[in-house]
Symmetry: C2
Subunit: 368 residues, 2 copies
């Protein structure tokens, strides 16, 4: 195994630990900001470090098109390229290929599609997805999976998870000799027994961590949590559990309560660019004219650069004028907010008061 | 006088000094980054401080529309509003009103126009331009002037400069009691004798500093330098000389050689957003595919954050993907470059080798 993972404390199903991979450490539960093209939009790596981001995710699908994995490799790999010295996880590209809809063609061998950027034909296989990530020199590789569409009939979901498992086996073989860790992805649609079957077949192969994929694809949130609740207790306790593409601050607390260790989502960064900011007293829509003359700080309980310096009135003004600094200061805060949330969650778990902590946070969010 | 200005060394006509206003100091020759709406586009005030910007300019015309001078005043004035603790100069709005062309109507009293942002009618007078700047709480106010169009007949240029002088007298009266400094603006078109007449009438009124306006308005560059060359030797040696809206790095050196102390221009910030970056070996067009796989730093002689960390290949990638971080890192460098240029110029003046310094810089720019 190329990733060390030690649980330091538990509180119910919730767990707090430390992961170590290729000399980079990160505390869990962890939230990964999304650095699609090798940049967490609007932030310098120095700002990322300041807000406590120890691990981020970058998108293979995007990077293989621009600037290409070979170029990133020539420029020293993702860490040198983007100058981030924390841990970097890369996805396999599977989810974005799935998002192309009819434009992709899946076969036993892999998936063919036309690259949206330049229209060129791409053939992504479990082996090529692995070698692309090796070129990117990320610390954690994801296996290529087929993201099962929603809704999917039971038989379709079964076929899909079985394909994902066969691909996982090929990806593991292709990963041989790599210094990076490798995570597999549990599929199975909304069927709890199929999810367990998927997990079992991946456990047979053996990975550094296990992700829950195929969620946040349009299903009701209750279905998503039903699947995670059914699956998480069966996931190995000594491996990282990664809930892909999730979610809101409330989702993060819910996932942690179920024993999830790792999250990623574009929400804090994308919403920041749209003036939708997360605070201890709930969401603040910065474009709202009510903030125009407000001398209040954005979030009195946040110690980020934005909240230590700028009034809501100034932030409102920046958004109203569509200034780049609005995206910078908003993103800085939202990412800091998410990092503080998981940091506080880790502390609460260590003090065996996670449920009370989650209750207090939710009460404060809805009080405003 | 509300601004102290001490010349520390001279070298030919070039001078290096220190200005002090309302407790803020800045060394001259100084270049002011442009913070139109109360933000130097893409930079945090912390980054501005790090690259050595001690003084910046903000635009009255823009701020009076968004968020309004009253709102900035309520939020503590520009320094609190944008959290910049260096000196801030505000223009009078005159130049932007002039840019509106036919949409403005000039009378003895002032100038009427429709605000581009919301179509409301605005009447800007020497007195209201002063009170708006007092509300903005900047450190240096500019008098309202009429920017003489180019080309302008001699008689038209004379009428225009005389109106500007009458407005200057009213602006001075309106400034009575302010703690801010106040600069007047020399007009007179491309007529050297009219420029001297304009300067003489403004000297009779008496200001903390004198700006050269009505340049960079479409005239050949040779005409601009002819006007500045004719005017500068007659400007008082103990007052700041401000060449408005200028210019390229080469222009800055040329202006300093003629005894100019203060400059401002959107060039470093606007060009940065377009991938046009200034370096010791000339302009680098970051969008150029030649940089795609370059592991070189942008400027080996620059100590800014961008040049200390990122390869040209990464910067090229950010521009190719239209990432916000491209604007951030590019602007950070370009502003740092301009600040280093005037800092090095000050050192060269102190060592009485300014002409050699300027010659060396120009040779390096054109060598690449």
């Amino acid at each position: 195994m190329n990733l060390e993972f030690a649980i330091r404390s538990t509180d119910g199903a919730a767990r707090a630990g430390v992961a170590s991979v290729r000399g980079k450490r990160f505390a869990t539960p962890a939230f990964m900001p999304v650095g699609t093209y090798g940049t967490v939009k609007a932030l310098t790596p120095r700002q990322l470090g300041e807000v406590g981001a120890e691990v981020l995710v970058a998108n293979t699908f995007h990077l293989m098109q621009r600037p290409s994995a070979e170029t990133v490799c020539e420029l020293g790999g993702l860490h040198d390229f983007m100058q981030f010295d924390g841990a970097i996880l890369t996805d396999s590209g599977g989810f974005q290929v799935w998002s192309l809809g009819e434009l992709r063609k899946v076969s036993e061998d892999g998936v063919k599609f036309r690259a949206p950027v330049d229209g060129s034909r791409v053939h992504l296989t479990p082996e090529s997805a692995e070698s692309v990530q090796e070129n990117l020199a990320s610390d954690i590789h994801m296996v290529l999976d087929e993201c099962t569409e929603y809704p999917a009939e039971r038989e379709r979901a079964r076929e899909s998870l079985e394909l994902t498992s066969r691909w996982a086996m090929r990806a593991k073989a292709a990963h041989e000799g790599s210094e990076a860790a490798q995570f597999a992805i549990v599929q199975g649609g909304m069927y709890e027994d199929l999810r367990l079957a998927s997990l079992a077949s991946l456990l047979d192969i053996g990975f550094d961590g296990y992700a829950v994929g195929g969620l946040s694809v349009g299903e009701p949130k209750a279905d998503m949590w039903r699947v995670v609740s059914g699956l998480a207790p069966h996931m190995p306790i000594d491996r990282i559990r990664y809930l892909m593409g999730v979610g809101t601050p409330d989702d993060i607390l819910q996932g942690i309560a179920l024993g999830i260790d790792l999250f990623d989502c574009v929400l804090p960064t994308r919403n920041a660019r749209n003036g939708y900011l997360f605070t201890h007293s709930g969401v603040v829509k910065m474009g709202n004219a009510a903030h125009r003359r407000s001398s209040e700080f954005l979030d009195a309980n946040c110690d980020c650069y934005t909240c230590q310096h700028f009034s809501r009135g100034y932030l409102h003004h920046l958004y109203a004028c569509n200034e780049i600094l609005a995206s910078v200061l908003g993103t800085l805060h939202n990412v800091a907010y998410y990092q503080a949330l998981v940091k506080d969650a880790r502390a609460a778990i260590a003090e065996a008061r996670f449920q009370a902590f989650a209750r207090e946070r939710r009460a404060a969010w809805s009080a405003a």
